[in-house]
């Protein structure tokens, strides 16, 4: 019995980080959704796996959407885990955008996970997250 309990506890403790990782959404992104479910999909966030310099990292966000009056992307929000300003940028689109795709360059303070959230016209929230290793962090302080 004792051994069984121990094994169950061990299995539980091993499963915990997995669950945390599964729901390990960016807190700022969860706050944006304001209780609405954040679903993974529709959004594709492209970042290099490794950036030598965090001062300028190319980023691309593509959202699958027909971009019609009835069904379009209203906004796209970018969140960083470690930057002092977590909400890096907000983009507001509409049916006149034709294509929900944005390219830019961001500053990243260290290796982290970047999250992009898209708000659709039907009120649903979709996200994608990408990890990135930053060798030289963006100079946000004296260093």
């Amino acid at each position: 019995m004792k051994r069984r309990e121990f094994l169950a506890a061990l299995a539980g403790s091993l499963a915990l980080p997995a669950i945390a990782q599964e729901t390990g959404l960016d807190p700022a992104a969860v706050k944006l959704a304001n209780g609405a479910p954040l679903k993974k999909g529709k959004v594709t966030l492209t970042l290099p796996q490794l950036a030598d310099n965090g001062n300028s990292v190319p980023i691309r966000i593509v959202v699958e959407s027909p971009m019609t009056e009835a069904d379009h992307v209203k906004s796209i929000h970018l969140f960083s885990e470690r930057n002092p300003v977590s909400n890096m940028a907000n983009f507001y689109l509409g049916p006149r955008a034709g294509k929900a795709e944005i390219d830019s360059r961001v500053r990243l303070a260290g290796s982290q996970k970047v999250t992009a959230v898209a708000v659709l016209s039907d009120g649903t929230y979709w996200y994608d997250a990408a990890p990135i290793v930053v060798t030289l962090s963006a100079c946000l302080d004296e260093s």
Partner: protein, 105 residues
């Protein structure tokens, strides 16, 4: 503030047009210190808007998380011939704008 905008000069009606914009701006984060140790005041472009024929088609709120000399690439549908007007403002209240005409056939 110098800026460069790249938009196709002419296009067909209904076609999706790519807009590329590069603005010369330090995007000072406000976390850096100068040689004598004083914090350098934050100065970033906070708002950027793109109007097509007077109607806003794209808007962005930027922060210190955007790299210096911000680059943006986005899209719009070509309706009729008109002017594309990009406008932005930074923390110091400096405004910049760039216009380009699009010919739609």
């Amino acid at each position: 503030m110098a800026a460069r905008i790249q938009v196709p000069a002419s296009t067909k009606r209904g076609e999706v047009v790519e807009i590329r914009l590069l603005i010369q701006h330090p995007m000072e984060t406000g976390y850096r210190r100068d040689d004598v140790g004083h914090l350098i005041k934050r100065n970033v472009i906070t708002l950027l808007s793109c109007r097509y024929d007077g109607v806003e088609v794209f808007r962005a709120d930027l922060s210190s998380g955007i790299a210096a000399n911000p680059y943006l690439q986005f899209y719009t549908v070509a309706g009729k011939s008109g002017e594309l007007e990009l406008y932005w403002i930074d923390d110091e209240g400096k405004q910049g704008s760039e216009r380009q005409a699009i010919k739609v056939t």
